[in-house]
C-alpha cells in the first residue's frame, strides 16, 4: 500500500525528529517508498555510517524501509554500495540539499 507524501513526512518527523529541508519531499513528483524508520547519521564518517546502518537494519522487520541521512560525501556513494553488496535492496539515493543525502533501503532477514 502506498502512503501519501504527507504521511511519510509526518511519520519520519514523529520518529526521529529529523526535519527534511530543501527540495526533497516537497516536490511531490514520484511516489516515495513508505519509511519505517529514519537514521540521522549527519556528522558521522565511513565506515561508521555503514556499520550503524547495518545495526539499524538488524533491529528492523523483514521488508521494512530505512531512510538514512548522511552529510559525509563519500558515504552517499559507499553506504548504498556496501549495503547492496550485503544483499539489501537500495530503493533510492537522493541529494536533498547542499550538504545532505538520503538513502532508502529495504530490509532483509538477519542471518543468524
Amino acid at each position: 500500500m502506498l502512503e501519501s507524501e504527507a504521511e511519510v513526512r509526518r511519520r519520519g518527523e514523529d520518529q526521529s525528529g529529523f526535519h527534511e529541508v530543501g527540495p526533497g519531499i516537497a516536490g511531490g513528483e514520484a511516489l516515495r517508498p513508505p519509511i519505517d524508520r529514519e537514521l540521522d547519521l549527519k556528522g558521522k564518517v565511513c565506515p561508521y555510517t555503514f556499520v550503524e546502518s547495518m545495526l539499524a537494519l538488524e533491529e528492523m522487520e523483514d521488508g521494512q524501509v530505512l531512510r538514512i541521512v548522511v552529510d559525509y560525501p563519500p558515504a552517499a556513494c559507499d553506504v548504498p554500495q556496501s549495503l547492496k553488496r550485503e544483499g539489501y535492496e537500495i530503493l533510492e539515493v537522493r541529494k536533498i540539499n547542499n550538504t545532505d543525502w538520503t538513502i532508502c533501503v529495504r530490509n532483509r532477514p538477519f542471518e543468524e
Partner: protein
C-alpha cells in the same frame, strides 16, 4: 543491548561481518570463557578473546612468570617476571580492552575445586601443560556439561579439538581413556616447543571459541586437527564417541573427578599423544 559509540568503533570490523552484527557482538559481551593456563596457548587465546569483546574471561594458572616463559607466553612481559601469571595476564588483557572482566585463579586445578571453578562459565579452553590437569578439565567439563576447546603443542606440532559430550560428541577420554604412563611422553624440558606453534594453536582455540559463542561455522566437535609447523601441513581425523569410554560411554566407570599425580612436576609443555601421518584414520584405529 544497545552498543555505545565506542563499542561500535572498537568492534566495527567484526560487527559488519555476515552473521555477526550487533546481535553477535552482544552474544560475545555476554559470554564467559574459562581459560585453563595463562601460558603458551592461553596467552594468544585470551588476547584475541579479550580483543573481540568476550565479556568475562577466567584465567587459571598456579605459576608465576619466569624468564623462560616469555619465548611464547605473550601475555607477559620481562618486567612481569616473578608475578602470578594470572595477575600479569589480567593487566595485559585489561590494558587491551578495559570492557572485559578478568577473573583470576592463582591456584592449581584439583578434584576438589575444578567443577566449582568452571561452573559459572559457558565455555572452557584447555591450555594446560600436564596430563593430570588435562584429564581433570575434561572430566569437570563433562560433569558440568561445558563445551571444551582443547589445544596441545609439542616441539613443532600441535593439535586441536572441541569436546561436547553433552551434545552427543566425544570427550577427551574417548580419544585417550587414561593418562599415558610416566616416561611414555617426553618431558617438558627435554622436548621444547617453537613459540609460534603455541601461537597458532592458541589462536585456533580462540577462533573456535568465537564460533561456538556466535553459533556460526562448523564446530571442531568430532574432529581432531593436527598441525605440523615444519611442513606447514594440516591433517584432520574424525574422532568418534567411544561407547566404552570410561567417562561418557554406555557403562561409565568414572563417576566423580579423579586426581592423577603429576609425573613431571616441572612439566612445561602440553604433550601430544599422537603424531599421525595418516589423516583419514579414526581415533580408535589410531590409538
Amino acid at each position: 543491548m544497545k552498543l555505545t559509540d565506542e563499542q561500535i568503533q572498537r568492534y566495527s570490523r567484526q560487527i559488519i561481518l555476515p552473521r555477526v552484527g550487533g546481535k553477535g557482538q552482544t552474544k560475545l559481551s555476554e559470554a564467559k570463557v574459562f581459560i585453563m593456563g595463562a601460558g603458551g596457548l592461553g596467552s594468544p587465546a585470551a588476547l584475541y578473546l579479550a580483543a573481540a569483546g568476550v565479556g568475562t574471561i577466567g584465567l587459571a594458572d598456579s605459576d608465576r612468570v619466569d624468564l623462560s616463559n616469555l619465548q611464547r607466553q605473550i601475555l607477559h612481559r620481562t618486567c612481569d617476571a616473578g608475578e602470578w601469571k594470572v595477575e600479569s595476564g589480567k593487566k595485559t588483557l585489561q590494558a587491551l580492552n578495559p570492557e572485559v572482566t578478568v577473573r583470576t585463579y592463582p591456584e592449581r586445578l584439583t578434584s576438589a575445586n575444578a567443577r566449582e571453578m568452571i561452573k559459572d562459565y559457558d565455555l572452557v579452553l584447555d591450555g594446560s601443560d600436564n596430563f593430570p590437569t588435562r584429564f581433570l578439565v575434561n572430566d569437570a567439563c563433562y560433569f558440568e556439561k561445558k563445551t571444551l576447546i582443547s589445544g596441545a603443542i609439542l616441539r613443532f606440532e600441535g593439535q586441536l579439538s572441541t569436546f561436547k559430550p553433552h551434545a552427543n560428541g566425544p570427550c577427551y577420554r574417548c580419544l585417550l581413556p587414561e593418562p599415558p604412563p610416566p616416561g611414555h611422553v617426553p618431558s617438558c624440558q627435554e622436548a621444547g616447543v617453537l613459540g609460534a606453534v603455541a601461537g597458532v594453536i592458541g589462536l585456533f582455540q580462540a577462533n573456535e571459541a568465537l564460533k561456538e559463542i556466535l553459533g556460526i561455522g562448523q564446530s571442531m566437535t568430532g574432529r581432531l586437527l593436527l598441525f605440523n609447523a615444519l611442513d606447514l601441513s594440516f591433517h584432520e581425523m574424525k574422532v568418534q564417541k567411544n561407547p566404552t569410554c570410561p567417562l561418557c560411554g554406555e557403562h561409565p566407570t568414572i563417576k566423580e573427578l579423579v586426581q592423577y599425580s603429576l609425573s613431571c612436576p616441572t612439566q612445561d609443555i602440553a604433550s601430544l599423544q599422537v603424531s599421525p601421518k595418516t589423516p583419514d584414520k579414526t581415533s580408535q584405529e589410531f590409538l
